[in-house]
Every structure is written in structure tokens, then in C-alpha cells.
């Protein structure tokens, strides 16, 4: 490998960085000002590519391509504004993070809408008129369009920088990024600010997507493929810092280009393929940056965002009436195998729901009372599942022993990752947990000889008597009841109170002798351990386990369950998990457009129950009951 080759690969990295920059810059702006974790940002990017494709091919020529890119950006900006005005504005007063649920629904809807409008085939756009060829640099050919991209990103960066530095709008954006309440206090029309920021951020996503039209085919997997990278870039660069986003995009793209340039390395005693590290390179960069610089490269510590939503009510032990209800439900669940004799699938579905309940309840434990929004809870699910599966297959553990070891494996992982995660807070903590989950995922994916690689481990079946669906269901029920009661017990014990104290006000908690980090660390570990039970149960329920169990999608499912049920109630995660699992089961039977349908249902639930389903019921109940806000 010559120096020329490395330098040239650095140029490739720069052009890739441009693509990353556009989507990340928009996301950073939106998050900085509105604090909304907009998962649908990748969908806007994808729409950008599709729309630009259509304009470039239908209008054709230089105008169709270049004019199409500009038009696309503007149009996607309008879509962004519409999303903010028609949807998000209605739920700003919901508990924190709730807006994530709405944008998750949008991802599903946009994806199916794109499928409906453009069809399933990949659509490769034309080459850029005027920039179809290549230029010679270092004796190699660099596509002229790549060269153009290398320059267009810094140009937009400078433009944005001046716009934000000089204009009143820019000052407001910066002020809001530092301290959102201050802007409200200054008498600024917050609605207009939020709409315009959303429009600008979406415009940038649309522009980024549109510019890709000459480089990659428009396809339906783009939305999720870019969103993860975009978040990484935003966090590495520092929330709200556009320059940081550019810097981060370059670092990540260059690290990847370097891995590719290095290729296969043979050190004699060990041989590895560096190009495989591109799978996880960005997450390793993010983890390192967050551990060393908790606010990203150019980010500043943000003022505490006091939630605009009403704080949560004190927890109260279940009243006798409720306990009786709970007993009845438990009795019914115990009787389910008898009731369901004629339809064994009920056992399968009910087992899945119980697994989801454990997963969501353990996530809620740290998300709600702990205030730690883990975006990587799937890591502990996966560790539990793989722990059980590998102990069974490789170490010859009997089934029950492997199942019992699952939480121990997950606990160890959570102890390790939690130690780093609790050093951060807010979205930085969320992103570090995500990075850890991705690193676990990548390790499992790569370590073929041990974990089975992308195929995973198969043949993880329960032994008698648990090989009968109803017996296994009862085992899952027992573990679910134990898990839920344990977590509940912890929450009512001093530990749970201390965890909430640390969340309500870390400063005050410290001032009465509470070591908030330590408490939250242990809370994180407990949640991870309990989540491992869900993972172990899952592995044996499915007979196999593959890296998908650790993928981002599962972590997001967990967030959706918790938010759907209501983050501020203790039964919320159980209700959310049950409803989500059943919705998926019911709706997935529609092979056509089930995602869009699921998205619409979630959107409806979001608008109908801004406190989550259980949250809404609990509010109704307390009004009906005349009691003051006690929530079981």
C-alpha cells in the first residue's frame, strides 16, 4: 500500500463524509432546538433520493437533475414543516421522549408510502450532467461528482454557519440549543421557531438524499441505513454543532476509508480483514469520543431541560382492590393453558408477550424511575439469549441452568457498559448505550467460530417437560411474575427511591449523601440482568438466536413499548409490551403494507393517549376516583 493510495482513499472518505454531513447537520439542528429524537429523519433522506430520481428521469437533462435536487430539498423541507405543524406540535407537552414514538410511526408509514408510490425495485438515477466522468489524481481516477461532493459540503457548512451566526433566526437557534426555556422567556414565538428549524433540518436531509441520486440507487432500506450513522455523527460532533457534525462526518468516513484501504492484514500469527471493521467503526469512534469527551467534539454541556410535561406522581402501593384484580388476572393467566387447549398458538403468542413484558419492564426500570434513556437495551437481551444458547451448545449446560445463567451474563455486560454510561446523561447516555449495543452486535456478528456469525446459534430447544408449549408458557409466566414483582419491590425499596431522587435532581440527591452514579449504575445493572431473563426465554422459545436480537430494531421496539404504555406509570411497560406484541401479531398477517398500517395505529395511539395507554387510563381513573394522582 503506497502513500498515494492512502491519500487517494482519504479523498474518497471526504466525499462520503459529505453525504453523512447533510443528514447529520439537519438532525443536529432539530435535536438541538426541539430535543426531539427524530427517527424519521432517515425517511426524509430516503424520500429525497426518490423524489430527485423522479425529477431527474421525468424532466431529464441538466435541469431535471440539478434543478431537481434543489426542488427536492425545498419539497422535503415543506414535508418537514408539515410534520411539525400537523403532528409533533400536538404532543410537545407529553412526557419526555414521547415524540420519538410519533417519528417511529412515521418511519413505518413513509416506508410503505414509498413502496406504494415507487414500487419495490431499486432505482438507480442518471449520472450527473456535466460531472459524469472522472478526474485523474495521484494516477487514479476520482469521479468528478465525488469531487463536487467534497466541495459542496463545506460550502453548505459555511453558508449555514454565517446564517446562524448573523441572523436573528440563527441567534434564536443557538440560544434555544443552549437553553430552551430561555427562548420561551424572551417572548419568542416558539411554534414558529420549531417549525422553521424542522423545515430547515428536513431540507438538509432532503438535499443530502437528493445528492446521493447519482451515487446509489434509491431503495427502501435507505431510511434505516442512514439514521444510525446520522445519530452517531451528531453525537460525536456535539449536539447542535454543525461544524462538529462536519468534523465528525470526516473522522468517521476517514476511519472507514482507512479500514478499507488496509484490507487484509497478515501479521504472521494472526490474519484479519480490516475491511470488516467498517461494520462497527463509527460506533467504536462514538464510544471513545463519548468516554473522553462526554459532550462530543464541539458540543457544550446543555442546560438542564426541565420537562414541559407534568412531573410524575408519587408511587403508591397497589390498593387492596387493585391487588385483588391482579390476583384475578394472574389466576386467569394460570388458567390460560386450559382455556387454550383447542388453540395451541395462544400459548406461543402469550409466551412472546410475556418475554416482551419482561424486556419492556426492565427497560422502564431505568428509563422511567432511573431517567436513563437506554437506546441499547437489546444488548442485554442479546447477551442473555446468546449466553444461554452458547452455554447450552458449547459448554453443555442443561437447559434450566443455561436459562438461569442468562441474567448473569447480561448482568455482567450491564455492569461493564453501565459503568461508562452513567457518567453521561440525556441523549449522550442514550447514544453511548446504543454504541455499546452495536459493538456487542458486531462482536456477535463477526465472531463466527463462537457465535455462529450472521446465522446465529440454532438448535436451542427446551428439554422435557418444557418442550410442551404450555409448560414453557408457565415457566415464562413464573419468570415474568418474578421479574415484574422483583423490579416493583426494588422500586418501592430505598434503592428505587434513591434512583428516582437521582433522576429528579442529581444535585439535591448528592446533597443528602446519595451517590447518584453508583445507584444508577446498579440500577442499570439490575435492569440489564432482568432483561437477560427475557433474552434467555426468547432463545429457548424460538430454538435459535441470531444477531437481530441485539440489533437497533429491538432496542427501538423496547422504547416503543415503554412509551406506548406510558413511561410515568409502573404498569405502563406491561400494557405497552402486550399491546405492541399483539398489534404486531395481528397486523403482520396483512402481508401488504402492514408496516404502514402499524404506523397509523401507533400514530392514532400517540395522538389519543399522549401519556401512554396506561398513563391515560390512570389519569381517567384518578379523576373518576377523586384521588390525587396516585398511580399504582
Amino acid at each position: 500500500m503506497t502513500l498515494d493510495a492512502f491519500l487517494f482513499q482519504a479523498l474518497n472518505g471526504l466525499s462520503t463524509a459529505s453525504g453523512l454531513f447533510f443528514i447529520a447537520a439537519g438532525l443536529s439542528l432539530i435535536f438541538g432546538v426541539t430535543r426531539i429524537v427524530n427517527i424519521a429523519h432517515g425517511s426524509l433522506y430516503m424520500l429525497g433520493t426518490y423524489i430527485a430520481y423522479t425529477l431527474a428521469t421525468k424532466i431529464g437533462g441538466a435541469f431535471g437533475f440539478w434543478g431537481g435536487i434543489v426542488l427536492t430539498a425545498l419539497f422535503v423541507g415543506v414535508i418537514g414543516a408539515a410534520i411539525e405543524m400537523l403532528l409533533l406540535r400536538r404532543i410537545y407537552r407529553a412526557p419526555e421522549l414521547f415524540q420519538l414514538l410519533a417519528t417511529f410511526a412515521l418511519v413505518l408509514i413513509f416506508n410503505d408510502m414509498t413502496l406504494w408510490l415507487w414500487g419495490p425495485e431499486d432505482l438507480l438515477g442518471p449520472r450527473a450532467p456535466g460531472l459524469a466522468g472522472a478526474v485523474e489524481i495521484f494516477g487514479r481516477r476520482l469521479p468528478s461528482y465525488d469531487l463536487f461532493l467534497i466541495f459542496v459540503a463545506p460550502a453548505v457548512l459555511i453558508l449555514l454557519h454565517f446564517a446562524l451566526a448573523k441572523s436573528r433566526f440563527g441567534r434564536l437557534v443557538r440560544a434555544a440549543t443552549q437553553d430552551r426555556e430561555m427562548v420561551g422567556a424572551l417572548g419568542v414565538n416558539q411554534a414558529v421557531l420549531f417549525t422553521s428549524v424542522f423545515a430547515l433540518g428536513s431540507l438538509l436531509a432532503g438535499l443530502g438524499g437528493a445528492l446521493q441520486v447519482a451515487r446509489e440507487p434509491a431503495n427502501l432500506a435507505m431510511d434505516l441505513a442512514v439514521i444510525g450513522d446520522a445519530f452517531v455523527v451528531v453525537v460525536v460532533g456535539g449536539m447542535g454543532s454543525i461544524t462538529g457534525a462536519y468534523l465528525a462526518a470526516i473522522i468517521i468516513a476517514e476511519v472507514k476509508a482507512l479500514c478499507i484501504a488496509i484490507g487484509v492484514v497478515d501479521l504472521g500469527f494472526i490474519k484479519f480483514n480490516a475491511s470488516k471493521f467498517t461494520l462497527v467503526a463509527e460506533f467504536i469512534v462514538m464510544a471513545i469520543v463519548l468516554i473522553v469527551r462526554p459532550y462530543g467534539l464541539l458540543g457544550k454541556p446543555q442546560g438542564n431541560v426541565r420537562s414541559v410535561a407534568e412531573p410524575e406522581a408519587p408511587i403508591r402501593p397497589a390498593a387492596p382492590l387493585l391487588k385483588a384484580f391482579a390476583a384475578v388476572v394472574l389466576a386467569l393467566l394460570l388458567a390460560l393453558p386450559v382455556v387454550a387447549q383447542s388453540s395451541p398458538y395462544v400459548m406461543v403468542l402469550a409466551t412472546d408477550i410475556l418475554i416482551a413484558v419482561i424486556f419492556a419492564t426492565s427497560l422502564h426500570f431505568i428509563m422511567g424511575p432511573g431517567g436513563m434513556h437506554s437506546f441499547g437495551h437489546a444488548a442485554y437481551f442479546g447477551l442473555g439469549a446468546y449466553g444461554a444458547a452458547l452455554l447450552l451448545k458449547s459448554a453443555g449446560f442443561p437447559m434450566l441452568a443455561a436459562l438461569l445463567a442468562a441474567p448473569a451474563v447480561a448482568l455482567l455486560g450491564a455492569l461493564l457498559f453501565g459503568w461508562f454510561a452513567v457518567g453521561l446523561s440525556g441523549v449522550y447516555l442514550a447514544m453511548l448505550t446504543l454504541a455499546f449495543a452495536q459493538i456487542v452486535w458486531a462482536a456477535v456478528f463477526q465472531w463466527e467460530t463462537f457465535t455462529g456469525g450472521s446465522n446465529g446459534v440454532i438448535g436451542v430447544w427446551p428439554t422435557a417437560p418444557f418442550n410442551k408449549a404450555w409448560v414453557y408458557y408457565l415457566l415464562a409466566l413464573a419468570l415474568a411474575v418474578i421479574s415484574v414483582l422483583l423490579l416493583r419491590r426494588f422500586l418501592f425499596a430505598p434503592f428505587g427511591y434513591a434512583m428516582r431522587a437521582g433522576r429528579d435532581s442529581a444535585l439535591r440527591a448528592e446533597a443528602i449523601g446519595i451517590d447518584v452514579k453508583r445507584i444508577h449504575w446498579l440500577g442499570f445493572a439490575i435492569a440489564g440482568g432482568i432483561c437477560g431473563i427475557a433474552g434467555g426465554l426468547f432463545a429457548f422459545a424460538k430454538g435459535s438466536i441470531s444477531p437481530e436480537a441485539i440489533a437497533v430494531g429491538r432496542s427501538i421496539d423496547g422504547l416503543v413499548m415503554v412509551l406506548l404504555g406510558g413511561i410515568q406509570t409502573l404498569v405502563g411497560p406491561m400494557v405497552g409490551a402486550s399491546v405492541f406484541a399483539m398489534l404486531q401479531d395481528t397486523i403482520m398477517r396483512q402481508t401488504e403494507y402492514w408496516r404502514g398500517l402499524l404506523g397509523c395505529v401507533i400514530l392514532f395511539l400517540v395522538l389519543a393517549f399522549p401519556q401512554g395507554i396506561a398513563g391515560a387510563f390512570s389519569m381517567l381513573w384518578s379523576r373518576f376516583d377523586g384521588k390525587r394522582g396516585g398511580r399504582a
Binding site: R140, Y345, A350, F617
Partner: protein, 401 residues
């Protein structure tokens, strides 16, 4: 509060579980599950192929009965797929299940079928493991495997007489095993072959410019590329612009399939030696009949997925016509050496490893009327590239035979 919500939830479970769809007596229910949402480009034509075959089969009937296909999305991940499979078996009461696309999902369902003693016909997944290492008694597979497709390309790779090879494959089981197979097979014939670089980009996220450049910098004489879409389109465009494929032999799995080739349009990489499906070039009576029926019904040309979907239903019909009963063991027996007629001509399911011998077309990518197609096409029968019965018996677990 808690209890109330739970009662409602419970009512849901019960209602969902107890509502049986009424089954007609004169139909045989077949469950089909696939990643329709995550792989629409392949599975949309696949589904159309199934529909066409179903229409033809049911027009005649199988011993007086009709097939009812119950199609489900498998959620694109193994966990969901296993649940859906259970749902099909336990709630819908299907006689057998078929389908799946990605290897790991296919494997998970294969394993499920073995454990629960359910007959499973894996339609699309390519991994060798389904019929070999992880094979079982209850699972058969239709499509030509990674091993077979690689073997089909070997004569051309060997004939190229190149010493320096580069490999580009997705960091995923399919790509990895294709690369391993290719290296092993080539090394056996050409011991002095040198593999100068290996690029394994993440599936669906290839950094095309950098990868193309890295291949070029390694100065190979030839390369073996197994990228999936949309990675392939990105890679080809970058490679063309950068002149990476110039004067180099490229051997590539699957790239001749319309699903891969069509999005490339006029940029189809002419001269690549590929396996694929040149629907416009095949002139056999079987294929002509299939093609005209397909075009008549859908006003569109078939993709390889259409062939697979069509042949899946045809295989099921053939199996059902032969079987003594609808229980899994009878179906397993019926599929042994089962002969099926497909648009690619007749093939059979080998009793030894449960693999179908349906082959694939090998040829060179060509450009006609601004669109990619294949030239010098040749049908390679799957049976000709599969190891013999004694050899595969060693590859399969003892319990699978």
C-alpha cells in the same frame, strides 16, 4: 387499574387465539412465510410467480383438491419467523410450510421444522447449511445453493487463467461462504493462485468508492464479486467511473438475475461472467409457456424470484400429488426423488440431501437496447455441480437421513 388493563389485554389474546378461520374440506392449506417487507424487490415477483402457479395447479386440482396458500410476512428476522411458522402450523393448521429468503431466517425455520416435525420447503435461502451441516429430515430446499452457484462459475474462472484474484463480498454468511467456496475450489485446480485483497463491506452499506479503489490498488487480474443489491449498483457505478473493471475478468454470483441487473440500466457491467436468469434469451418450450402466461397475467416480465415462486408451488403440488398423507413423514417420503417440471426444465429433489437439482444459467453480461442482459448463456443442471450422495451423507448430521 393494573388488573383492568390486563383483563382487556387478556380478552385480546383470547379473541385473537380462539377465532379460527373456517377451513373448507376440499382445500389443502399450505403456509408460506417470507420477508416481503424487507426484501420487496425479490419477493414481489416471487409472489406473482406463486400466484401464477397456484392458478394453474388449482385449475386442474390435486386429486380433486385445491391448494390454499396462506401467506405471511416473517418480519425479516428469525425470531418473528419462528413465531409466524408456529402460527401457521398451530392456528391455521397448514399441512406444510414453505418460503423464507435470507439464510439465517431459513436456517431458523429449518431448525424449527426439524424440532417440531413439520415439513418445510425452503424456497430462496442459499446457505449450504440448510441441506448439509444443519440439515434435517423434514426440510427440503429448492433453489441452487451458494456452493452450487459458485461451482457453476468455476469452469469460467479456471479458463480465465488468472493468478491474482480480488474478492468482494458482503460481510454476511452468504458472502463469506461464497468466498470460502470460491477460494477452496480455485486453489484446488490452480494451487499457485494468489488472493491479493478481500473486501467485506457491511451488507447494504458498501462504501463503494473506497472499496472499488482498494480493489484497483491491489492490482488484481481478476475478481470474484458477490455483492447484493443495492450495493452492487453503487459498486458498479463507482467501478465503471474509476475504470476498476477495465481489462479484468470479473466473475460474479447472481448478478445476471434481473433483480440485480435491471437497476443498473445502461451501466450493466458488460463481460462479467455471472449466474442469472436471462428471461429474454431462454428459448425452451417450458420457459416459453411460462413466459407468455406470466406476461399475460401480470403485464410484466418475470424475474428470478418469479421462477422460484412458481417452482415452489409446482413442487408443492407435485409433492401433494405423490404423497400418501398430509402428515409430515408422508410428505418427507413423497419429496424423495420427487420430479418437478419447472420453467428451467425438469428437476428433482435428491433423497440424499433434500436439495433440488434445479440449476441456473451462466453467461456473460451484455448490453442490448440500453439494458443489461446475458450472452453466451448456458443452463447448468444443478445435479452436475452437486457432490455425490456418499459425500453429502458425510456432510449431514446422522439424524437428518
Amino acid at each position: 387499574m393494573k388488573a383492568k388493563q390486563y383483563l382487556t389485554s387478556l380478552a385480546f389474546v383470547l379473541a385473537a387465539g380462539l377465532s379460527f378461520p373456517a377451513a373448507a374440506q376440499d382445500t389443502i392449506k399450505i403456509g408460506e412465510l417470507n420477508s416481503y417487507k424487507s426484501q420487496p424487490a425479490f419477493l414481489d415477483p416471487y409472489k406473482k410467480g406463486m400466484e401464477l402457479a397456484l392458478e394453474e395447479v388449482n385449475a386442474k386440482g390435486i386429486n380433486g383438491k385445491k391448494i390454499e396458500l396462506i401467506i405471511r410476512d416473517d418480519g425479516g428476522n428469525p425470531g418473528e419467523a419462528v413465531r409466524v411458522a408456529e402460527e401457521l402450523v398451530t392456528r391455521e393448521g397448514v399441512a406444510m410450510i414453505a418460503g423464507t429468503f435470507l439464510s439465517h431466517i431459513g436456517l431458523a425455520v429449518t431448525n424449527f421444522a426439524g424440532q417440531k416435525k413439520v415439513f418445510f420447503l425452503a424456497a430462496e435461502p442459499l446457505t449450504d447449511k440448510i441441506t448439509w451441516e444443519s440439515g434435517n429430515k423434514y426440510t427440503y430446499r429448492l433453489r441452487a445453493t451458494t456452493y452450487m452457484q459458485t461451482a457453476m462459475l468455476m469452469p469460467a474462472a479456471i479458463a480465465a487463467k488468472k493468478k491474482r484474484w480480488a474478492l468482494v463480498y458482503p460481510n454476511f454468511e452468504y458472502g463469506q461462504s461464497a468466498a470460502e467456496n470460491f477460494k477452496a475450489m480455485l486453489k484446488k485446480v490452480q494451487p499457485d493462485v494468489e488472493f491479493v485483497t478481500e473486501q467485506a463491506p457491511p451488507l447494504g452499506k458498501v462504501d463503494a468508492g473506497a472499496v472499488a479503489q482498494a480493489v484497483d490498488d491491489a492490482k488484481p487480474e481478476a475478481s470474484f464479486d458477490v455483492l447484493c443489491r443495492p450495493d452492487l449498483a453503487k459498486f458498479v457505478r463507482e467501478g465503471n467511473t474509476r475504470g476498476v473493471f477495465k481489462d479484468r475478468t470479473v466473475v460474479s454470483l447472481l448478478s445476471g438475475e434481473p433483480e440485480y441487473l435491471d437497476p443498473l440500466g445502461a451501466e450493466a457491467p458488460v463481460g462479467w461472467i455471472v449466474t442469472g436468469y436471462p428471461w429474454d434469451k431462454i428459448k425452451t418450450p417450458e420457459h416459453d409457456a411460462f413466459l407468455s402466461a406470466y406476461q399475460k397475467k401480470f403485464n410484466d416480465y418475470p424475474r428470478l424470484g418469479s421462477i422460484v415462486g412458481y417452482s415452489t408451488v409446482k413442487s408443492i403440488a407435485a409433492g401433494l400429488a405423490k404423497t400418501k398423507g398430509l402428515d409430515a413423514d408422508s410428505l418427507v417420503e413423497a419429496f424423495k426423488d420427487l420430479k418437478v417440471d419447472s420453467p428451467f426444465g425438469p428437476f428433482m429433489y435428491r433423497a440424499s440431501d433434500h436439495q433440488a437439482t434445479m440449476g441456473a444459467y451462466v453467461g456473460k453480461i451484455a448490453l442490448e437496447k440500453g439494458k443489461g442482459t446475458m450472452d453466451d448463456i448456458k443452463y447448468v443442471d444443478g445435479a452436475s455441480v452437486l457432490p455425490g450422495d456418499a459425500e453429502v451423507a458425510k456432510l449431514r448430521p446422522a439424524s437428518a437421513n
